[in-house]
């Protein structure tokens, strides 16, 4: 690591020059793990996420996503009664944030460096003061886990409720667990191909660190 070019918002709060781009390097401490065989499709997790954090019931901005897989599964309507969800085999896949390891796609795509690491969990969180509502982060996440709150005009994502996730507490079938972080990014198939690009100055930072 060459000093000065990289600002890592880490658990220890280390930061360097103001003008440099934010590149998240610290691993998250925790992660929500979901078991689809136990999911009963009640969406209490989505509601706990938004009511207890935002004061409104709003599955659209929930940071755990059930609704989109509820009826037809992750492969959607074309599978009809042969896919997942209530119309298919019954399995409801709970989409959760992987709290990606470095490089963090949503954070790297943000032109305002608004996605930062926050202790104590080191979750990747949206700093709403910096977020301009441009939605670039949504284009960056292969798992479509970035939400956009049209009420506040800000992006939002799973911040692990600072270590005691409301969704886990709310699940009536014990399908969710808060566990030590592990890298699921290679295990969970992406929902979309990301279309966000990394800004040139950040790309340069990548090259600085990963010198041949």
């Amino acid at each position: 690591m060459t000093g000065g070019l990289i600002i890592a918002f880490s658990a220890s709060g280390a930061k360097a020059a103001k003008e440099g781009p934010v590149i998240i390097m610290d691993q998250a401490e925790g992660l929500v793990i979901a078991d689809p065989t136990k999911c009963v499709g009640c969406r209490r997790c989505e509601l706990a996420c938004t009511e207890f954090n935002d004061g409104k019931a709003s599955p659209t901005i929930a940071r755990i996503k059930i609704s989109r897989n509820l009826n037809f599964g992750v492969n959607g309507i074309p599978t009809g009664q042969r896919g997942g969800g209530a119309w298919g085999n019954g399995l409801v896949i709970q989409d959760i944030c992987n709290q990606c390891p470095h490089p963090v796609p949503c954070a790297n795509a943000c032109p305002n460096d608004a996605i930062v690491v926050r202790p104590p969990t080191n979750a990747r969180v949206v700093d709403s003061k910096r977020c301009s509502g441009c939605k670039m982060c949504r284009r960056a996440c292969p798992w479509e886990m970035m939400s956009f709150d049209s009420g506040t005009n800000k992006a939002t994502k799973c911040f692990l409720c600072d270590g005691s996730p409301k969704c886990v507490e709310a699940c009536p079938s014990g399908a969710l667990t808060y566990a030590a972080w592990r890298d699921l990014t290679g295990k969970i198939p992406p929902r979309v191909a990301p279309t966000a690009i990394v800004a040139p100055e950040k790309a340069q930072t990548c090259n600085e660190c990963h010198k041949k």
Partner: protein
């Protein structure tokens, strides 16, 4: 974002005759009626003249939800659909059908508390509600398709999250015995044909907005957790069905089925439902398995999981996987529903080769759900199947139907309990093919009239459970003695009230129930042990009034009366008390409009009174006591001729029930002689103009 918490703030009005789409301010126009059936009754009172028939363009359909729909309040998934009821005989009167699923929440997220459908489209259409974008769309391609095909095609246009309420062929063909259905298995009976009469195939709703909680979010979280802690299993049964390490009591009749060794056998890998200790809120969803409750132990091996409505941890729909049905009947191996929807196919048959809880019975359920929930046939709370058995085994079909048609059914299969018989019967009901199927699709009252069978025969028959106006009993004397009887006199279809039976059947010992009853209704004598009934007293009338008002309140707030109220709980440390104020606590915090339990009950009374006024106006009669609030003769008989009030009978005593009605009318401050509300009562509850209108028509007592 809405100005108020809870409500979305707008009511959507769609005139299918003119294509006009408009919105109204919910609170400006309907604040005094909360939502749900409240908006429904208000619209019908204001806008639909007496004498209009169900299938007239002048009839309206009101899809209503309430301030709690779409929130995290437990059990808020129900949509109330109010209209002039097509199976209400001899004349259509106001009633409501109720469906669970995801529709109610999605409607709120789209920004609406209700949809009022009026007029008649000149060709088949469906309604697309996508946030503020509302369109009437061509449905000619969908017409003639089942509910499942229709739903999938609309989801293709609106995305997988959209909730689609659709009718099947039964509704299109104006069979009164038809449903509208959403979320695969959640139906509202009776409404399908009214939708069909308006050429409205479906309503698709997609909402990306939110429902604001007005109160402090920490307080809301605390309240939600309190409510969750008071929940039992389905029907608010608060003790387990067999002994559990944590449980002081158990009751074999309880729907709390979970137990170590009872597994969701078709989950992969299978899941043990386990002890479900009540303080563990992460196991609530395992408590209920209605397939196992109704179909016996065999159902466990077929259970994939529980399913149900938005935000409800009680999964009263059970998803079953029965691989054998795929090869045997050519239907999907998965099926799901609850209660009479689950039993739809089985209930036609008197017996099965391997008994009532064998494999064939389960297969009959699978075939029944596959057909009925796609064709959109309603069963009128099981009356269709009870009628069918009686009409066949008493030789009435044979007498009333031409020989050629009669012989076109494989009656040998029927008698043998062969589920393939359902493939002959149910499509014909939906398509009105032939006399037999057409008559069955009319509903009991109109069927009896068509075939010249005196209603009296049905009123006297203890097995048919028929009550009045073409509809059966729904939790009557068999569950709550006189209180159940009173409740079953009040509506224009089956009563659909569970406030009383959710208490009397909660599984607690009668001593505990009596202790709680004393706190709730002023005396332990308000409740009796089931089938050990005692004579009428004023506290039973209080309980009846409370039951009816809470039912109506739930239907307006969008709380599930199949689960609430929550006045008993599984918690020993609370001495099994629930909380009689949970509705008002939720309402106050969600909306920001602080109302006490009594204040909210008063609003519920206003809404219930408006239902009464509508019934009086549309019947054109004030003598409700003898013309409307009638009780079938079978209630006063016993198959073994046991005397009323003796142990083991649900038989009621005629004089005692007269007293019961007297006490109920008195409790309601209605005129005892006619059973009609008085002018003073209308005025007290803010319905002075309603009283004036009835006075003009000579319909005040």
């Amino acid at each position: 974002m809405a100005k108020h918490g809870g409500w979305a703030g707008k009511v959507l009005r769609v005139d299918l005759s003119t294509g006009k789409i408009s919105t109204e301010d919910t609170l400006e126009k309907y604040r005094d009626y909360l939502g749900g059936t409240g908006i429904g009754y208000k619209v019908i009172w204001d806008e639909v003249q007496a004498g209009v028939k169900s299938f007239d363009p002048a009839n309206k359909i009101v899809y209503g939800v309430g301030p709690l729909a779409g929130t995290g309040a437990p059990c808020n998934g129900r949509t109330a659909i109010t209209t002039l009821w097509p199976t209400c005989w001899p004349k259509a009167l106001v009633a409501s059908g109720h469906m669970g699923g995801q529709f109610a929440a999605e409607l709120k997220y789209a920004g609406y508390d209700a949809i009022i459908i009026e007029g008649r489209a000149d060709r088949p259409v469906w309604l697309s509600v996508w946030d503020e974008k509302v369109e009437i769309k061509d449905a000619r391609q969908l017409w003639g398709q089942g509910i499942r095909r229709t739903t999938i095609e609309i989801n293709q246009q609106m995305g997988p999250e959209a909730s689609v309420a659709a009718i099947g062929q039964a509704g299109e063909n104006l069979a009164p015995m038809s449903v509208v259905m959403n979320s695969y298995s959640h139906s509202a009976g009776g409404v399908g044909g009214v939708m069909g009469s308006k050429n409205l195939k479906a309503i698709g709703v997609r909402g990306t907005g939110s429902v604001r909680i007005a109160g402090n979010k920490e307080e809301w979280e605390k309240l939600i957790k309190l409510h969750l802690s008071l929940l039992g299993a389905n029907n608010q049964h608060v003790v387990p069905s067999n002994p559990q390490p944590w449980a002081e009591h158990y009751n074999a009749g309880s729907r709390w089925m979970a137990s170590a060794g009872r597994r969701w056998g078709a989950a992969n890998p299978s899941i043990d439902t386990g002890a479900c200790e009540p303080h563990n809120l992460n196991r609530i969803a395992y408590r209920t398995n209605n397939a196992a409750y109704f179909l016996g132990d065999k159902a466990w091996q077929h259970t994939v999981r529980g399913n149900g409505c938005t935000a409800c941890p009680i999964r009263c729909h059970t998803m079953l996987k029965v691989p054998a049905v795929s090869a045997k009947y050519g239907i999907p191996e998965l099926g799901q529903n609850t209660c009479v929807g689950l039993l739809f196919g089985r209930a036609f048959f008197k017996s099965f080769p391997d008994g009532p809880k064998g494999q064939t019975a389960i297969e009959a359920c699978m075939v029944g759900m596959y057909l009925a929930d796609d064709l959109g046939v309603w069963d009128n709370y099981g009356q269709l199947q009870r009628d069918f058995q009686a009409l066949y085994y008493n030789g009435i079909f044979k007498r009333k139907v031409a020989e050629k048609e009669f012989n076109s059914y494989s009656w040998n299969k029927y008698e043998q309990g062969d589920p393939t018989f359902l493939f002959e019967l149910l499509p014909r009901i939906a398509n009105k093919e032939g006399e037999l199927a057409t008559a069955l699709g009319l509903g009991t009252g109109h069927l009896l009239e068509r075939w010249g069978i005196p209603e009296q025969e049905w009123l006297e028959n203890h097995d048919l459970l028929y009550w009045k106006l073409g509809h059966p009993k729904h939790h009557s004397n068999e569950d709550a003695g006189q209180c159940g009887v009173i409740i079953n006199t009040q509506y224009n279809r089956d009563a659909q009230c569970h406030s009383h039976s959710n208490f009397t059947r909660n599984g607690l010992p009668i001593e505990v129930q009596k202790r709680l009853a004393a706190e709730l209704w002023g005396s332990p004598d308000a409740v009796d042990a089931v089938a050990a009934f005692t004579p009428m007293n004023a506290h039973k009338a209080k309980m009846a009034k409370w039951s009816l008002l809470r039912k109506e309140l739930h239907d307006c707030l969008s709380l599930c009366n199949w689960m609430g109220p929550w006045v008993a709980s599984p918690l020993k440390e609370r001495e099994y008390r629930g909380d009689d104020s949970i509705e008002s606590l939720l309402y106050s915090l969600a909306t920001g409009d602080k109302k006490s339990r009594q204040e909210l009950d008063t609003i519920a009374e206003r809404i219930f009174l408006l239902h009464r006024a509508l019934t009086i106006r549309d019947m054109g009669a004030k003598d409700m006591r003898t013309k409307h609030d009638t009780i079938p003769d079978w209630v006063f008989t016993d198959p073994k001729d046991k005397a009323a009030f003796s142990k083991g009978t649900i038989r009621m005593d005629k004089e005692d029930i007269k007293l019961a009605m007297d006490m109920f009318y008195e409790e309601m401050a209605w005129d005892k002689e006619t059973g009609s509300p008085t002018k003073a009562t209308y005025r007290r509850l803010g319905l002075g103009t309603v009283a004036d209108e009835l006075a003009k028509r000579g319909l005040l007592p």
